[in-house]
Symmetry: C2
């Protein structure tokens, strides 16, 4: 049991295993799965060997349909092939998936599960893509954390060979695929100990070859198709055993124990949630907390979703269970209930068990799923007028099926330090934070977690980084809401966003600003000053843009802000932190030459001396919070765009939306971001009237 | 209520309505849906007007993905668009279907439901394609007969406009799409009376246009996607009402009554089958018969499958029900049960009803589903050891989940005359029989049904035509098994197939052969002669190939055999029949000039005089049936190819099949069809050694 503590995202944890256990990946990139193919290709370019001692190949096709077709061909030829996809990409693979499963070709498709475009496109995560392939005959294995991405990817690659049934291994897009967390790696030599080489040999012996030829993929008529279709039943019946067997083997090399279904919670639980994906970790953490306060709650975490083993599911439930809520991260219009709900109802009905079952939807398109929502789901089960087919996490003021959040729950079971960073898309904040969490976890005995909120506008919009670190495992797949440290990398954000929301008393605020003294006091809105004073926050400022300009880094303030962060949180002796930051800067900029490198070193050095602690005037505590931004009189702006711009889109009720996803045109006029750190001025003396400026300005303002 | 009695297939019945109620069809052809697009295009080419007074347009794209994309665009632009597809074609439409449903664009896709390729491709019918789109948000309406194809197509086109939810209207590929039956047409003027023109106007007002612009199909982020996704709930809740309303309107102009679920059977039934598609007619007919013998059986016919209205389903069930068997025409590997089964279990669970539910699969890839199988399903429910998740129609000797057929049921409730024709693929038998059923239904007060068994080899293999006619409606969507008349259009079939199977006592046998007298007696196998003698069959021969050659028609024997058929069955005075046959010949060959036309007329005229009744020698009744064809010693041939070649593939048990669909290579050597009606001989005097013969011979025998 040799392992390293590594801090990686879910995509990387998955791709490392996929690479070690395959010979070819046929790919086509789609968010949020692309990283997996990139990691795979990177390993291949570095001539890294898989467990068979070969260097796997990557083939990029013209679409996911081609990727699946090429994979089918590779498999028929006896190659261990894999691919990575999501959303519409998975939909394009469906025809080939029916064929691959029909021919019992062992295979793993790794899916960072993402919303399918409906009334609107969304690049974010839910289970609508994986649920749309549940008829194809692929087995389906769900990971709920970064650690599981690695471990269950391994289980999938083993079980597909031992069962001959192809697998989709999936996890929540962005929430898990892009969450960076500290996990225990699996050593390639340990994998070799448990890999079913005999089954690999059987698979290769069955492949198309000229020495012992056979034909496959024939056409059949009504006389024989049905019988042949039933001939594979025994393989499917055997899949749950193969998965349990793979889990046993993984336990033998890691000490980590998984089952097709895992139960966590009170042994005599009356109320149980059934869930799969990252939400399971949130439920687990919440019931640890609530059971500590006397509740008798439990959760069944579904790992093997297809084939759905009803018997094992029933055995996993505590006999004391009276009520079950099944949470689905998908909406299936026109069905009486979502897919997992129906599986659970059928399993109970076939077992003759009298349990009340509720179904609910949560987390569509990466909508936050928090401990407070988990609490609401348990409360709904025991209420006098429980809602079935509810939604949780939104306010549905049309059909009134959404659960109300009455209690806010912070299950701070473990001491974690939580930091939030408001960056400016493209300013390097996200990259710096990825390095910071690696520095902390590699230099100290802390584990770390980093998650990043972006929107689909990419560059130029706010990015919000969420960092947690602490001594134990950090399985909190939701945004931080108990904040010890907040950094605001753009001063305009203090009026645009509620940047101090959920900052704890005595917390630290770091503001990148040129404002000083009275200007600072004047520019900060009253509600910010009031919050700082009342909660005894410590306020620090730094003029990072000025420093960056001085040392020749232009707008790149990320290292300055990173250094200020390390200085303030004081988790690592500052000299060591500086050395670490410089090591990472070397990795990033070493190739760009000494001049660039020295500027970056200088950025790190200059932060400390430019950091200023602000003495909070006593009158701040007496202010009243009354500002309201003027804005336009446009109803659509006030009721729709403005809340979204303030990062308060989550609060919009269902009635705010056109049911077809229609929006008015000409609305860009209302989105004046006003976040530029410098404004260009026309210099008539230098102008040669080339007119390039009119092409360059993205807003056509010139 | 003006109507004509018309004799058409399900595709044509559907396409007529789709044409009348749309402005554009974006298509890509796929078996068995292609006829719908062909009929649509044909009407368009003839400048036929739809109910809006326009001539609809047809656009053929490069694949079904393009057809769906173009349709999406047409709908967004306010055009009433439709399409026709099946199987993999439907799979390629999935991404656009999520979008169309998400944007609540009214639309109908007509699907002749077909098997999705798995271990083998199949062009035949089951519900695997339509079940794979049940997550898209399309409503789903199922027709179970040719009459319903017309009526429910109309319901779909009305309800999609009144509900704003797009519809898939589907029916069983081949079994319904290609079955010819006598139905009552709906007059276009009657449709105009019930069409929701106001809703059409609303749809067009919502379309993209430059006067009142809006944007649609935007990108959304986690803050708002979920809420917007829930905003369409009320539209889905309303679909069942819209469908019931459309059914009411159709009742008002046709007198035919449909509901989202229809119950047929004993009011106090204890055992009920739930089913959709053509199988429903078989069940209905069987329980009419069995209840007449004292059983208390019932059937729920599912018409609106999505949204699944649990409340209406429960209300449809008789309160006396104790056991339900749900029959699905699809296999979903890895699920605990097939989709309709799970819907029913959930509906009962939510209603708190204690009913025992069994799930079963039937009819995959157009496997026959007969009254005897229906009987077995009812018997299973009440047996001491009922099987759940059974299959019916095959012998599963591996997992032993198939039901045994213990009683053969012939529910001959109405007097029908049943005729079977063994044709030679490409000889014109199928076309002639399509004409024959039209002649019978148009000339007499009979209704008619015609169904054709082909295999996917197309030309050169046996085609089997199944014709029924009689006074009442003919709702028997299964092959004929009580045969009054059998025609064998190729003499070699008497040794290849069991051509007299299920021929009734006193039935008529028509054999196209050059054999006469002692040769005939020598060439007919003993089991044929024995069967003829024992069952008092009347045997007629005609040498149609000789006549065809004499009059210059080459191998085209269809009109000669058709004329012999009309002469023998004597349903229409023969002079009138001859006139009708000549009218149809004129339609088919009129354009080819007088010479060709006269040859065809001559074929009709010559049949009567060449028909010979054979006196059955008394010793035929004393023969023993003992022939066994020698064949090869190859195990694969004996156990697999030989039964299939004898048209006995249906009897092969599950254990005969490789579970991956693998077959040995080089097996064409065993398939010596030996059905050629003439053999070429090399004439050395004429040979110029051009060597073209080696290209021409399909078997490479030269």
């Amino acid at each position: 049991m040799k392992y390293n503590k590594i801090t990686v995202d879910g995509n990387t944890a998955t791709a490392n295993i996929a690479y070690a256990l395959s010979e070819i990946a046929t790919i086509y990139p789609i968010t949020p799965s692309s990283t997996m193919a990139e990691v795979y290709e990177d390993l291949s370019n570095k001539n890294t060997q898989n467990i068979f001692g070969d260097v796997p190949k990557v083939v990029e096709m013209q679409s996911e349909a081609g990727a699946a077709g090429a994979m089918h061909g590779a498999l028929a030829g006896g190659s261990v092939a894999t691919t990575f996809t999501a959303s519409q990409g998975l939909l394009l693979m469906i025809p080939n998936m029916y064929k691959i499963a029909g021919e019992l070709l062992p295979n793993v498709i790794h899916v960072s599960a993402r919303t399918i475009a409906t009334h609107a496109l969304s690049i974010f995560g839910d289970h609508s893509d994986v649920m749309s392939i549940r008829g194809t005959g692929y087995a389906m294995l769900a990971s709920s954390s970064v650690q599981e991405c690695q471990d269950l990817a391994l289980a999938a690659h083993i079980a597909t060979l031992t069962s001959s049934v192809p697998f989709v291994h999936f996890f929540d897009g962005f929430r898990t695929s892009h969450e960076i967390n500290t996990i225990k790696s699996i050593d390639i030599e340990d994998i070799k100990k448990i890999y079913p080489y005999n089954k690999l040999k059987e698979f290769k012996a069955l492949a198309l070859n000229s020495k012992t030829p056979h034909a496959q993929g024939t056409a059949q008529n009504p006389d024989v198709y049905f019988q042949n279709r039933e001939a594979s039943n025994k393989y499917y019946d055997n899949v749950p055993n193969c998965v349990e067997d793979a889990f046993d083997k993984i336990y033998s090399i890691t000490g980590r124990r998984y089952h097709t279904f895992d139960y966590v919670g009170a042994k005599d639980a009356t109320d149980v949630i059934v869930i799969m994906g990252s939400g399971a970790s949130t439920v687990e953490q919440t019931i640890d907390y609530l059971n500590g306060k006397g509740k008798k709650y439990g959760v069944v975490i579904v790992r093997l979703y297809r084939p759905f083993d009803s018997k094992r599911f029933i055995q996993t439930l505590p006999s004391s269970v009276k009520r079950i809520s099944v949470l689905d991260r998908v909406k299936e219009c026109g069905a009486q209930g979502e897919p997992l709900y129906k599986d659970v109802v059928c399993a109970l009905a076939e077992a003759g068990k009298q349990v009340q079952v509720f179904g609910g939807r949560y987390g569509l398109s990466s909508k936050e799923f928090t401990p407070s929502m988990v609490g609401a789901v348990y409360e709904n089960m025991t209420s006098n007028s429980p809602i079935n087919h509810f939604s949780v996490g939104i306010n549905d003021d049309i059909t009134h099926k959404s659960l109300k959040i009455t209690n806010v729950i912070h299950p701070s079971l473990q001491k974690v330090y939580a930091c939030k960073f408001y960056g400016y898309g493209g300013d390097g904040t996200v990259s710096a934070n990825k390095n910071s969490i690696k520095i902390i976890t590699e230099t100290t005995d802390n584990n770390g977690q980093a998650y990043f909120e972006y929107d689909s506008k990419k560059s130029g919009n706010a990015t919000i980084s969420h960092l947690r670190f602490g001594k134990g495992e950090i399985n909190s797949p939701y945004l931080i809401d108990d904040i010890d440290f907040v950094a605001i990398h753009n001063e305009t954000y203090v009026t645009k966003y509620n940047v101090l929301k959920n900052v704890k008393p005595n917390g630290i605020v770091l503001l990148n600003t040129s404002w000083e003294g009275l200007t600072l006091s004047k520019m900060l809105p009253n509600h910010i000053k009031l919050y700082i004073a009342k909660n005894n926050l410590k306020l620090y400022t730094i003029d990072a843009y000025k420093i960056a300009k001085e040392i020749g880094l232009g707008n790149k303030i990320n290292l300055i802000m990173q250094a200020a962060f390390f200085k303030l949180i004081d988790i690592i002796p500052y000299d060591i932190a500086k050395k670490q930051m410089k090591d990472f800067a070397f990795k990033s900029y070493g190739k760009k030459g000494e001049v660039v490198l020295n500027r970056n070193y200088s950025a790190i050095d200059k932060a400390e001396e430019n950091l200023k602690e602000i003495q909070i005037p006593s009158n701040w505590a007496k202010l009243t919070s009354c500002e309201e931004c003027g804005a336009t009189s446009c109803k659509y702006f006030k009721e729709y765009i403005d809340p979204i711009q303030k990062l308060e889109g989550n609060e919009l009720p269902v009635s705010s939306f056109n049911e077809r996803g229609y929006v008015p045109t000409g609305t860009t006029q209302y989105e004046k971001r006003g976040v530029a750190t410098a404004l260009p001025k026309w210099d008539s003396a230098n102008c040669i009237q080339c007119n390039m400026c009119s092409f360059v300005c993205p807003h056509g303002a010139i």
